[in-house]
Amino acid sequence: MSYDYLFKIVLVGDCGVGKTQIRNRYTLDEFNPQSKSTIGVEFAFKTVNIDGNEVKGQIWDTSGEERYRAITSAYYRGSVGAVLVYDVTKPKTFEALENWASQLRQYADENIVVCVVGNKIDLPTREVSTAEAERFARGNGFFYMETSALDGTGVESAFRQVMKKIFEIVDSRQQARKKTVRAGSIGKTRSIKLTDADDVAEPSKFSSCCKQM
């Protein structure tokens, strides 16, 4: 399938908050109670239309298991979006967001678009309030959404919001550089932390997306 843009988006959060269910709801529109725990990373894809452009989301659904992080955190790099999931019925998973956010800051690109998602709002045993979560999100410069992977509430719009936000950033940069930059590499002005020799060798530094010809 052809597409104009490809955005890499990571799904992170504690074990059992419903990352894989959110991913399945978004890409397959299904909720499978039999779904297995994610070992390492799993991939899913969905193409949507934003302002007349075909934008493909490449979703990296990572495992919440703590000891995997030494390996999986390396996969955050190069992602332009992150969906940071917690379970509204388990305050522990909300408290862990701080840690996940710092992981993202450490390993992902600094201008990554992050959406905090409170999942399982269909359950009656909610323990983390919307106001509390919004406060956390605002404080970190993230935006906040609430979802239920079970009935589908909010899932589509959470991803859409992330993609749209990324698209806006990319598009504005593209408009600004239209005449000076060859199509395909965008946003040279964006500052990216460089750690790899590979990256240093490469003059085009925007690490997030590509426009296909």
Partner: protein, 586 residues
């Protein structure tokens, strides 16, 4: 000619059915005997009062019934015992035949390398010759097109695990009940929380009953090795073992054997250092064994980096998953079990070979891929399909066993090289191992199991000349070979006439001929080239001089808690390795 035996067989079957019907109905009659309106079963114990209440006549007839029943059951017992003896004889005869075949095709010189009769269960590991013969025979059979029979699996896995516990001197009867204790301590509660989250998310675990069993085994392991505790992925492995082993004890034994004796150290603990190391090792090995796929994936990655600035190594997320569950989440169950037969018998290099075999067998598809995104999509299809069309069992195993000779050259040195690199990134605070500073010392042996198997006890005649056949398969030697000290010693002892390291006759050629014959005989199929050198001595032995026990014994504390005898607490990998390697040098 053919009809007679079938007919008599049928008759025998009918007769047996009839007998079983008679016994069955007889039992039922007795069982249904009603005494004073109370239905009593033959299986129930009669209370004194019950018997007192019976009339003399009633008692007499009841006794007669019982006598009759006893005599019938006795004759049945005799019959079954005879039958059992017959079956035992048949098995013994079949084992003789298998031994003879293996013997015949293993060496023409003298009696061949096998001195003991074939058996399904392993002989005692203390009988080194017999145990080694057993390993060699089973490895030979593993390399056949169909692998080992499924019915052997349970016996072999459990047999190996039990030998392991015997060898390390761990009294399971004393230890295991405390591991399966149902009372949760405060430490357990946290573990329990982690484990419970994965129970219903484990493949092959459907019923609540199975979930509870799985939970007990996972908790027992976490208590056995508190240093490691529970790691996601254990659920997958244990669920698969449980299906084979049935009982919780046996499952735990096999799981411990797999983790502590077969897989490299720290595959699931300490930020998965073992896996991090193996991912780097695999990146090197792919250059040698799957060069086309490797360079294609590197090109894809590089072009993605040019466009987007960053792209992780493409194969890494998949290989991580495969290593974490020993392919449990990826391959069809049937293939996983067969692969695990190899894993337990041939050692952990089977996992490495398995990964290389996947890239190799999928080479055509992979090099046709044009972008990283296409690669991820292709791999997702492969991972999610979990069907046998995607991986051809025959090709997969053929590649595993033929990709290079056993043991895989450089695996040991590559692991050693990359392991020290990985250690720098360690970030587990307050781990007892780290506090002791032990972890920074590279482990002396990464895979004692295959090193034991590939260092057979010296024999006077068979293959006595070439103990060391250098670098036959390729010039692509990435690293210098580990110097096999033990072999040097042995050579100087047993092959005084040989001055040159290179044997005059290439032993591999000889073996290859023999193996080809073996295959022809077994399969009656194409001339296979798989199954190289299962009777061979290693080209380079992975055995390294063992460091004296500076290694942290993660069971030690546990043992003290459980007040197991002090001598039993000396359980660790190093000790076992020492035992084994010293047995080889004798």
């Amino acid at each position: 000619m053919d009809k007679i035996p079938t007919q008599s067989k049928k008759e025998q079957e009918l007769l047996e059915d009839l007998l079983s019907d008679i016994y069955h109905s007889h039992n039922r009659n007795l069982r249904d005997k009603v005494i004073e309106g109370k239905l009593i079963s033959i299986d129930d114990d009669y209370s004194h009062a019950d018997l007192l209440r019976m009339e003399t006549q009633e008692l007499d007839s009841f006794r007669a019934d019982l006598d009759d029943n006893i005599s019938k059951l006795s004759s049945k017992l005799v019959r079954l015992t005879l039958k059992q003896n017959g079956i035992k004889d048949d098995i013994a005869q079949n084992c003789q035949v298998v031994s003879a075949i293996i013997q015949a095709f293993s060496s023409k010189k003298s009696k061949g390398p096998l001195q003991s009769t074939f058996s399904v269960e392993p002989p005692l590991v203390s009988d080194k010759v017999a145990f080694n013969d057993w390993l060699l025979s089973h490895r030979a059979l593993l390399r056949m097109e169909v692998g080992l029979p499924n019915s052997w699996r349970k016996k072999i896995w459990l047999g190996l695990a039990e030998e392991y516990f015997e060898e390390v001197g761990l009294d399971r009867k004393q230890l295991f009940p405390s591991l399966f204790n149902s009372t949760l301590t405060d430490d357990d509660k946290h573990l329990d929380y982690q484990i419970v989250k994965d129970l219903h998310r484990t493949a092959n675990i459907g019923s609540t009953h199975d979930q509870q069993r799985l939970k007990r085994i996972l908790l027992a392991y976490a208590r056995y090795n508190p240093e490691c505790g529970y790691c996601q992925g254990f659920n997958v492995i244990v669920a698969l073992i449980m299906e084979v082993m049935e009982t919780e004890w046996d499952t735990l034994q096999v799981f411990i054997f797999m983790l502590h004796a077969v897989l490299p150290p720290e595959y699931h603990s300490h930020n998965l250092e073992g896996i991090q190391t193996d991912l780097k090792v695999l990146a090197d090995l792919m250059k040698t064994f799957t060069p086309k796929v490797n360079s294609h994936l590197i090109n894809l990655r590089e072009s993605s980096i040019r466009e987007n600035g960053h792209e992780p190594p493409l194969a890494s997320p998949y290989m991580m998953q495969w290593l974490l569950t020993a392919f449990g989440t990826f391959l069809p169950k049937k293939i996983v079990y067969r692969l695990w037969d190899g894993l337990l018998l041939d050692g952990n290099e089977i996992l490495i070979r398995g990964i290389l075999a996947i890239w190799k067998t999928k080479e055509e598809d992979l090099i046709a891929i044009e972008s990283t995104d296409m690669f991820y999509q292709f791999m997702s299809r492969m991972v999610n399909s979990n069907n046998e069309d995607f991986i051809c069992e025959k090709d997969f195993f053929k590649t595993i066993y033929s990709i290079t000779a056993f043991p895989m050259k450089n695996l040991f040195s590559l692991r050693k090289k990359h392991r020290s690199g990985t250690l720098v990134q360690k970030s587990v605070p307050n781990s007892p191992i780290e506090k002791q500073g032990e972890i920074r010392k590279p482990k002396s042996s990464f895979s004692w199991w295959p090193s034991f198997g590939y260092a057979p006890v010296p024999r006077s005649t068979s293959f006595s000349t070439p103990l060391h056949s250098p670098d036959i398969d390729s010039g692509k030697d990435l690293e210098e070979k580990p110097k096999p000290k033990i072999w040097e010693q042995k050579r100087s002892k047993s092959t005084t006439s040989i001055k040159d390291e290179r044997p005059s006759v290439n032993p591999r050629d000889l073996e290859k001929q023999e193996i080809d014959k073996l295959f022809k005989n077994f399969n009656n199929a194409r001339k296979p080239k798989i199954g190289i050198n299962f009777f061979s001595r290693p080209s380079s032995s992975p055995i390294q001089p063992i460091e004296k026990p500076s290694v942290f014994n993660h069971l030690y504390q546990r043992h003290q808690k459980l007040s197991v005898k002090a001598q039993q607490s000396s359980f660790n990998r190093t000790k076992f390795t020492e035992l084994l390697s010293s047995s080889d040098t004798e």
